[in-house]
Symmetry: C2
Subunit: 256 residues, 2 copies
DNA sequence: AAGTCTTGGTGGTTAGACCACACTGGATTT
DNA sequence: AAATCCAGTGTGGTCTAACCACCAAGACTT
């Protein structure tokens, strides 16, 4: 038996042990405690959209962990979009519409080699349904937003990059008109992923492509406006399938 | 004028300045450098699924930041599911199928008060299409997996919790049969969100509910097996709409 | 009264140290 | 000789202490 024990209990380890005993959560890391704390505060209504979290130093003493640990938890929450830190001002819960962020999906795409066809297909499943819901529920304001984007599409047929931006905006507007915030978040996530990829090759689109695309967008809008659920779904379906087919024939299609 | 300048340029600030000059990335925080570094390594193929990242200390000296900063970046990547750290072993890129994780969506649900109907609707849009794809593409193995889950559903009609687990597994299996990894990831994300909520109220389901549900699952399977795209979609649509309606009539429905 | 400057509080980063865990390979034991 | 044990080494996890950069609001000056 050695005379000098290798692992003396330190202040921190004792504190940790006390926590385990009190909370009963088996093996919850200190960092997880921070995330759990914030989640609890949110679920209990103590933290709402737009609220500011306590300062990191205060959170540290409040939860009973060190500041770096608090920072680790907040960094994780920040990566999930739950929280957003502003240097010098504090850490806030974003107030805007629910958004998921496309970064995780973007990493997944790079790691698993998602193809353009798979991306279009996923968008198709989701947006065909979204267009149908929009046809049934769109408010006049939402219809106006969609109509504006259609107009912008026709107006930017000479600028593929600008066209792409309005293309995305159109699909977002349709999703918003579905009235379902989850659908909005999902469509936005996929749209951003698509935009990040398409941006590099958008200039390959011919003006004829853009003209046809504008026309298809217009048909989608008209179906939504007239409350034609089946027609809106069918038009969206046709649009996304044809767009995918167009891009498959572009020169750079082989690089995938 | 004070004799002692308050802000002397330090080594770190000088180094930071050099970075800005060299890279040209305006105002990219040190932590972002870590994320960007990993992303670059992934996109260049230097890091693949299952690979192990360099040790944090090595990454720190490699990128030119401190270890806590490296840890912050890795923590963010970990929250996005890009990376997973195992105490004592190292930091790895998960090797399994592409997954998004439902935690961000769960936070969003708590913050924005997503309703059960909205969750069911989002699932419906996605899974109706997924069922159609499955009918067109399912391999014999995938069909077998779906059939097994149907059998398990019938076998666990007396245990609502068990039934719920097989219910989720069934829908995951259908999504997997769609052959589209993005769809799989999205369906899984929504399914986990649904499971986390339904778990608490699953016991309220009557045996008649579970019997009907099993029967609907069976019909979905049969449509997929016979390659009936429209039938599979319609069956899935009916199933999710009826399930949503069932739950709306349960006693605890008012708590939402 | 308007502009400017100081001041306090906040997140961002660094440094060094130590602990807890996992794997590996040699020493010990059987 | 084989099985077992155990210490070493490397890894992520946490802590302490300190400083920097930024922001907003109050105090000061003009």
């Amino acid at each position: 038996m050695t005379l000098i024990p290798r692992h003396l209990p330190t202040r921190s380890s004792l504190r940790r042990h006390a926590h385990d005993t009190v909370e009963g959560h088996s093996a919850e890391g200190s960092t997880e405690q921070v995330v759990t704390h914030v989640r609890t505060q949110i679920e209990s209504g103590a933290l709402k959209r737009g609220d500011r979290l306590p300062a990191e130093r205060d959170l540290a003493s409040l939860i009973g962990v060190s500041r770096p640990t608090v920072r680790a938890g907040l960094r994780a929450l920040s990566a999930m979009g739950v929280v957003r830190s502003r240097h010098g001002s504090g850490t806030f819960i974003p107030a805007g519409p629910p958004t998921l962020g496309s970064e995780p999906l973007s990493f997944l795409a790079a790691l698993h080699g998602f193809t353009r066809e798979e991306m279009y297909e996923a968008r198709r499943l989701l947006e065909v349904g979204a267009a149908g819901l929009a046809a049934a529920r769109a408010t006049p304001d939402q219809l106006a937003t969609i109509a504006e984007e259609v107009a912008s599409l026709f107006a930017s047929m000479n600028d593929p990059q600008k066209f792409l931006l309005h293309d995305i905006s159109f699909h977002r507007a349709v999703a918003a008109a579905s009235g379902n915030p989850i659908v909005v978040a999902l469509v936005e996530m996929l749209s951003e992923l698509y935009y990040g990829r398409r941006r590099e090759t958008a200039s390959q689109a011919t003006e004829q492509n853009l003209r046809d695309s504008s026309e298809m967008h217009r048909r989608i809008y008209q179906a939504i406006r007239s409350g034609d659920v089946g027609g809106a779904s069918a038009a969206m379906n046709e649009h996304l399938q044809k767009s995918s087919a167009y891009q498959a024939e572009e020169p750079s299609a082989a690089t995938t």
